[in-house]
């Protein structure tokens, strides 16, 4: 009942929400405006005729082909690595997990040039013997850390075995003064300033993104499925193959797409490690760089637009998979 003349409640005054809404719209519009201007600047710089000429250039056609091949190879390699790494990080709780998690992010955090420079030094200044000693030392440190914390399971023993194997290989290579590049070239897999090196230069960052995607994918798959599968007679590997992997299909496609898109945009490591030799190690990102270097701005803009279209297409694929119940 409403009391008359008393201290009755009136309709409360609430400040209008339009200023906040306007602020949100302004922030989004400003950001999208910048992106639109970036794309628009390329569009205004290039004509259809110029774009056609650039795309008909045999060197550019080779660059497009090499981009597709290397990005696809990198994406496949990234998925192959990210599935076990993502699963391990998602399902197992062990000492050193946080450290591994941090190490896996290093390729994302490092300036791209440093990835390329590190690859260049590793393959051309460090001998296979030294590389193996580094790996043996790392494995020995991991094993020692595990044993030191009272672990006596298969993991520290695995690292001990790894240290012994790498130590033996380092000893076997001890007399050789060849570089790693010379050794891999001898077995038909040259890397430095070679198309294969493009894949190696794209791989570290692309794989880091794929690992993140796969880890999220596995986090979203209930471990209960594996529990039930194991009570029905599966070991962990069988449970993974029969139950988890079929559920991770969309996540794997998303991880591959993400790695593909990331590899497409890679430039610094490719330039340093694989070079930008026309018709040999040139990919789209380096083509843009080379076109700018020779003063062909419309050509560079045309290639930029092509890369933007490819990047947007791959993002749309990822979004589509996420919308269809994918775990991205």
């Amino acid at each position: 009942m409403v009391k008359e003349g008393g201290n009755q409640a009136k309709i409360w005054r609430v400040r209008p929400e339009w200023p906040f809404l306007l602020f949100l719209v302004f922030a989004v519009a400003a950001y999208l405006g910048v992106l639109l201007l970036l794309v628009g600047a390329n569009v205004l710089t290039v004509s259809w005729r110029q774009a056609g000429e650039v795309l008909k250039d045999p060197n550019i056609q080779h660059s497009i082909k090499l981009t597709f091949v290397t990005c696809t190879a990198t994406a496949i390699l990234s998925v192959l690595v990210s599935v076990p790494v993502g699963y391990l990080l998602s399902r197992y709780r062990f000492r050193g997990r946080a450290l591994i998690d941090t190490l896996l992010d290093i390729p994302i955090l490092l300036p791209p040039l440093i990835v390329g420079l590190s690859l260049l030094i590793l393959f051309n200044r460090i001998s296979p013997s030294a590389s193996c000693w580094i790996l043996a030392g790392g494995a020995l440190a991991a094993a020692g850390w595990g044993f030191g914390r009272g672990e006596n399971g298969i993991v520290p023993r695995f690292f001990t075995g790894g240290a012994i194997v790498f130590g033996f290989i380092a000893w076997a290579f001890g007399g050789s003064d060849h570089s790693l590049e010379e050794v891999v070239s001898e077995v038909g897999l040259p890397m430095t300033f070679h198309p294969l090196g493009v894949v190696l230069a794209q791989f570290p960052v692309a794989a880091a993104f794929a690992v993140r995607t796969m880890r999220t994918t596995f986090d979203q798959i209930s471990p209960r499925y594996e529990d039930v599968a194991m009570t029905l007679g599966c070991n962990r590997g069988q449970a993974f193959m029969r139950v988890v992997l079929p559920l991770a299909g969309k996540g794997m496609v998303a991880a591959g797409t993400m790695a593909w898109a990331r590899a497409l945009g890679e430039f610094g490591p490719i330039l340093i490690f694989a070079g930008a030799t026309r018709g040999r190690t040139e990919v789209l990102a380096t083509s843009v760089f080379l076109e700018i270097n020779i003063g062909n701005l419309p050509g560079a803009a045309a290639l930029s637009l092509l890369m933007i279209m490819l990047a947007v297409s791959t993002l749309l694929v990822v979004r589509f998979l996420a919308g269809r119940g994918g775990t991205v």
Binding site: S222, D227, M230, T231, L232, G233, P246
Partner: protein, 206 residues
């Protein structure tokens, strides 16, 4: 059939004090207790889904299974969230265990048809888990757990989340299947009514 001898479990900060339990062959025991007392942890330890217990022994059908992997224990599990494999149809869910254990196709077919008949799943065999109701999903999970004729059936709050009508229906099916299959059962629940309706004996955890 199942003997838990002074079983102690450590799971992170949680420590389950020594717990003993004996279940006779064909008996159905309901394990009750307040939330967080370790009912599910104990059930998972019995199933082998946690690292071997910190102490004590688990004996199943006269064999010590304390450190055996889950698949070697002969236990069927119906978890709280049912966990039907999303990529498999109902028939494939029921065939999963027998196929893994190398049964021949005639044995598998007979077993699946028998279970489908007893559980009222004949018309659902070609359905995906996403198209099943809560009650139907429970019946499929029960069939999957029983397909290998386990020595022990573990039900982990398997009726949680069902409305009253479905709850009664699934309760009836579980009771019937325990009788038909003659299986020993351990049923973790927090519902006294459910425990009394299904179990021969109720054990309280503190």
């Amino acid at each position: 059939m199942l003997v838990l001898e002074e079983v102690t479990v450590q799971a992170g900060q949680f420590v389950l004090p020594p717990f003993s339990l004996e279940i006779a062959e064909g008996e159905c025991v309901a394990l009750m207790g307040p939330s967080g007392c370790g009912k599910t942890t104990l059930l998972e330890t019995a199933c082998g889904l946690r690292r071997g217990p910190a102490g004590g022994r688990i004996i199943l059908g006269g064999d010590e299974v304390t450190n055996l992997p889950p698949g070697a224990r002969g236990i069927g599990l119906v978890p709280q969230d049912v966990a039907l494999f999303p990529s498999l149809k109902v028939r494939e869910q029921l065939e999963f265990g027998p196929r893994l254990h190398g049964w021949n196709s005639v044995e598998i077919m007979q077993r699946v048809e028998g279970l489908a008949r007893d559980l009222g799943l004949e018309n659902l065999l070609e359905r995906s888990p996403g198209k099943l109701s809560g009650g139907e999903a429970r019946r499929v999970a029960l069939g999957r757990a029983l397909a290998l004729r386990p020595r022990l059936l573990c039900l982990d709050e398997a009726l949680t989340g069902l409305d009253e009508a479905r709850h009664e229906e699934v309760l009836g099916v579980i009771r019937k299947m325990i009788e038909v299959e003659g299986v020993t059962a351990l049923h973790v629940t927090h519902s006294k009514k459910e425990a009394e309706a299904i179990a021969d004996r109720v054990v309280m955890m503190e």
